[in-house]
Structures are given as C-alpha cells and as structure tokens.
Amino acid sequence: MPLDDLYQEIILDHYKKPRHPGRLEDAQVEVHHYNPVCGDELTVGLRLDGDQVAAVAVEGKGCSISQAAASVMTEQVTGRPLGEALDQAEAFRRLMHGEGEPDEELLGDGIAFKGVARYPVRVKCALLGWMAFKDAATRAVTDEEGRA
C-alpha cells in the first residue's frame, strides 16, 4: 500500500496545523487519555451548552495519526448537537474497524483516515481523540444531571 494512502494530505495538514489546539479555559470537563503502544497523549477540554457542543480543545503530543485525528474530531463536533457528535464518533469507530460502508456525511475529513484501518497498530492512535471526547461528554452529562 502506498504511503500516501495512509498519510493523506488532509491528515498531514491537520497534523501540522491542528484546529482548536491547547487548553480550553472555561472547560466544563477535562480528560487525559494515553495510548501505551505509541505513548500518544491527549488532554481534551469540553464545554456543553445545553445539548450542544459549545467548545472543545485538544492539547497533545504523539504521532501524526493521533494528533491529526484529534484535530479532525474538534472540527467535526464543535457547534453540533451532542447526539450527532456521538454518531460521528461511532461512524469513525466503524471506519477504523472496517464495519459497513463509511458514512461520509458524518465523517467529514475523518474519511481521510480510511487507510489507517489497514494498520492495526495505528488504529488505536486514530481512535484516541474520539475516545477522549466520548469520555469527556459522558462526564459532562453526568455532572449536569448531578446538578439538576
């Protein structure tokens, strides 16, 4: 498989210029996720506004696949209803595991990661940002329910 199929231009672009980088100042929750295989690390900050994803940011270090996938995640979910963002997360998980036909509408730039599915070691890297987002969302919702 040619290298360009794995490292598509969109991936390299997100890796070199991550969207929504850094710590979210008024984060509702912040989670830290770690991939022991690569040593990739991400801190994902999230703020919900009702059932909308108001803001999300990622501070991380690690391989290009993990950092680019997390950047795509921030772009995909920002301003979306939480339910839709979780559908996007599921669509990306299915893409990585080669389940069914890719839903390009839900995936957005995430479709560029299609080639990663053929490198099992790198799938964990690609999923790290989305796993962190789902974790943050669950905690944010639990917090809100606790307060209600």
């Binding site: 290298l3 390299l12 690569c38 040593g39 391989c63 790198r122």
Partner: protein, 412 residues
C-alpha cells in the same frame, strides 16, 4: 601470541539467512531490528527441521531409540551453550526466555532469602524483564528496589554505585548491554564491588551474549540470563547460567514433570540440577536450534562478529550524526556500545519515522523498548532504534539515512 583474524565475509554470512532475500513493499528487506530478534541462518532452521523429521521424542523418559537420540541432542545442546557462556552444564538451565530466567532467580532465590528491609539494586537502564520480577518479590518480601542512576553520558554512575551498595543489598541485577542506549556496562567491575559488599550479581545478557559473547566466568557474576532468539536461535528457548553451588542450594521454581525425583500424593523430592528447574517437557527442538546457533557463532568467532558490529555501528553513528535535527541517545564512543543506535528526528514521532521507513522495506523499532523508566529519565516518550548484527552492512546504513531524509521531507 595474538593472531589478527580476517574480517567477517558478510556476503557469505548473508547467504546463510534465507529471509534476507525477501522484498518488503517492493524493496529489498533492510532488517535493522536485530536487538528485538535476530534472523536465523539455514543451519539453525536445518537443525530444527532434522530434529522433528528424524529424532523427535520426549526427553529423559523413554528407553526407545528416538527417546535416546532426542535426549542426547537436547543435552548436547546444553553442553554447547554452557561452554559458550562459561558455565558448567549442571548449572545451565533452559528457560523460555530471559524474563523466565530472571523470574526463576527472583522466586527460587529471592523469596527464600530476601527479608523486610533488604535491598535489590537494579539500574535505571534495565529492560522491564529485569525490573518487574524484582518488584514482584519485593512486594512479597518487604524488600526494596533501588536503582543505580544513568549519567548524562549514558553510562552507569559508578560513583553512586558505592553509595547504594550497603549491608542490606542482597543482589545487584544489571544489564550487560542496554537494549536502548547500547551502553556496554562494566559488569565485571560492578560484580567485584557488589561481592565485596556481600551481594550477589545477576547479569541480563540478552544483548551482550549474542553481540559480545560475554561469559559467566569472565564477568564473575552469580547468574547470567540470555535468550536464544536474539542470538540466531529460535524463539521459545532462553538460558539461565549460574554459579553451580549457588544453583545447587536453591529450591524449585516451577513444579511438574522432570523436576522431581519421587512424588507421593502429598509430597515430593526434587531432582538434581539443572533439571530441578526445568518443569515439564522442554522446548527440545528450540534447544537444538540454539545449539546450532552457538556452533554458527563460534564457527565465525565472536571477536569477528563484535569487530564487524563495531565497524557498522561506527559508520552509522557518523552518518546519522550528519542528519539535521537527529539526536542520538547513547555513548558516543563506539567501544562503549553495542550494535544499536537509538535516536529521535526533530519532533517527528518514532512511529511515523518507522512507518515511512517501512514503506521502503526498512525495519526499525519504534517505541519505549520495554524500558519505560529509562525513557522517562531521558525525557522522551519513544525513540527509533536501528540495530545491527553480523549480517548488517554499511549499505543498509546508507539506505536508512536516505529513508530518514525522506521522512524529514514528508513531515516538513
């Protein structure tokens, strides 16, 4: 009289390794991951094949011809390995790998001898296999694990060693050659100081036996572990070589077949060494393969193997040192290191480096190399490691350098 031996005929050596004819992703394989596992010569594959085709039977059990032959081949392999590492045959135990060899010592010696407050001295550059078994028995006995620090020059801090060696130090467990830095540690000197302080010494020689031919007797250590698959042999067979009277004093580690003399429903008596420590049917074909690997290495001469690796490693240090933004972790003097170079290339993650190199058929290791405390000490998440062996060439180093230039362009 000293004789200067002719350099290794690398082209002839390469001809013995069938896998080196492979192409990977359309390119000739450039295998630079021998520190993870070496490739195997046809002589080793042939010995194992012949064992299964002609001699296979269980060992030490039957009286029939095949059982006699299998037992003879198995014990003959033990003899070859024992002579190779300077131990007695009786004190050369076949294990599964180095991890099992260290666990054997940690449990069979450590559990019986360590007391609350005793100290196990390791080093900051140990592989997890020479750390975790000690942490396990420390947890069970109340002993403490302490570590000799690594200096800024990537060497063991021998001044700190004297301060750390005390009357509570019961054993020093040290790598003879770091699998990350390549550092060759002065184990003989460490053993002398440790013995003076009343401690035993275990050398993790997973890298040092295959690449430098170190021995139990010349290092002057009490235990030495190495594994077959890094020394041209198959996976699944390792070795614990020990000082004979010490091994003789130790009680069994794993229980089962082979390691007993007599068994009743509620008690057993144990076998003599080395079989006391070899519970169950051993990996006979693998032991035979390791014996053939030892023959192969000794046929070439470990001094020539080492000299070749020094040449290739010296060339690699020079060429890699010329790459902008490339940082090498390990001693700069080739005499102080084994045949491997760990490095980082700018901010590019080692997994990305290894992935791009793989597209050109170049196999390197990327990650924490099972030495997380060391990487934490170095302040890096991961490194890329290129490692060499008797079949490695300077042309392969050139291919690596060209590959790394491509990596840099790719992620620029």
């Amino acid at each position: 009289m000293t004789t200067v031996s002719a350099p290794l005929d690398v082209a002839a050596v390469r001809g013995d390794f069938p896998i080196l004819e492979r192409r990977v992703n359309g390119h000739p394989l450039v295998y630079l991951d021998s520190a993870a596992t070496s490739q195997k010569p046809a002589q080793v594959l042939g010995a194992m094949d012949a064992y299964y085709r002609r001699h296979n039977a269980n060992v030490h059990r039957g009286v029939h011809t095949l059982a006699e032959e299998a037992t003879h081949l198995f014990e003959e392999a033990r003899g070859k390995v024992a002579r190779f590492v300077g131990a007695s045959e009786r004190a050369t135990v076949f294990t599964k790998n180095v991890s099992e060899a260290v666990n054997l010592v940690a449990y069979a010696w450590g559990l019986r001898n360590l007391r609350q407050g005793d100290e196990i001295l390791v080093t900051e550059m140990e592989h997890h296999s020479n750390l975790v078994p000690w942490q396990l028995v420390a947890g069970m006995t109340g002993a403490k694990v302490r570590a000799v620090p690594v200096t800024g020059d990537y060497l063991l801090d021998l001044d700190a060693l004297d301060g750390l060696l005390g009357e509570r130090t019961r054993i020093v467990a040290v790598s003879a050659m770091s699998n990350v830095l390549g550092t060759v540690n002065p184990v003989a000197e460490i053993a002398e100081r440790a013995h003076a302080a009343g401690a035993l010494v275990l050398a993790d020689a997973a890298q040092a036996v295959p690449h430098a031919g170190v021995r139990l007797d010349t290092l002057g250590v009490d235990f030495l572990g190495f594994t077959g698959h890094k020394a041209l042999g198959p996976m699944g067979v390792g070795v614990l070589a020990a000082r004979e009277e010490l091994l003789e004093s130790m009680e069994p580690f794993l229980g089962g077949g082979e390691m007993i003399r007599d068994v009743d429903i509620d008690r057993f008596t144990w076998n003599t060494i080395p079989w006391r420590f070899e519970a169950g049917t051993p990996n006979v074909a693998e032991a035979v393969g390791l014996g053939a690997a030892v023959d192969y290495l000794q046929g070439l001469g470990m001094d020539r193997v080492r000299a070749h690796e020094v040449d290739v490693t010296g060339y690699a240090l020079k060429r890699l040192g010329e790459i902008d933004g490339l940082r090498i972790y390990g001693p700069s003097e080739v005499e102080h290191r084994g045949g491997m170079v760990s490095f980082t290339l700018g901010d590019i993650h080692p997994h990305d480096v290894a992935q791009v190199l793989d597209a050109d058929g170049i196999a390197v290791r990327a990650g924490h190399h099972c030495a997380k405390p060391l990487l934490r000490r170095l302040g890096v998440q991961a490194t890329t490691r290129a490692s060499f062996y008797l079949y490695s060439t300077t042309e392969e180093v050139d291919a690596l350098v060209a590959g790394l230039e491509k990596v840099r362009r790719f992620f620029a």
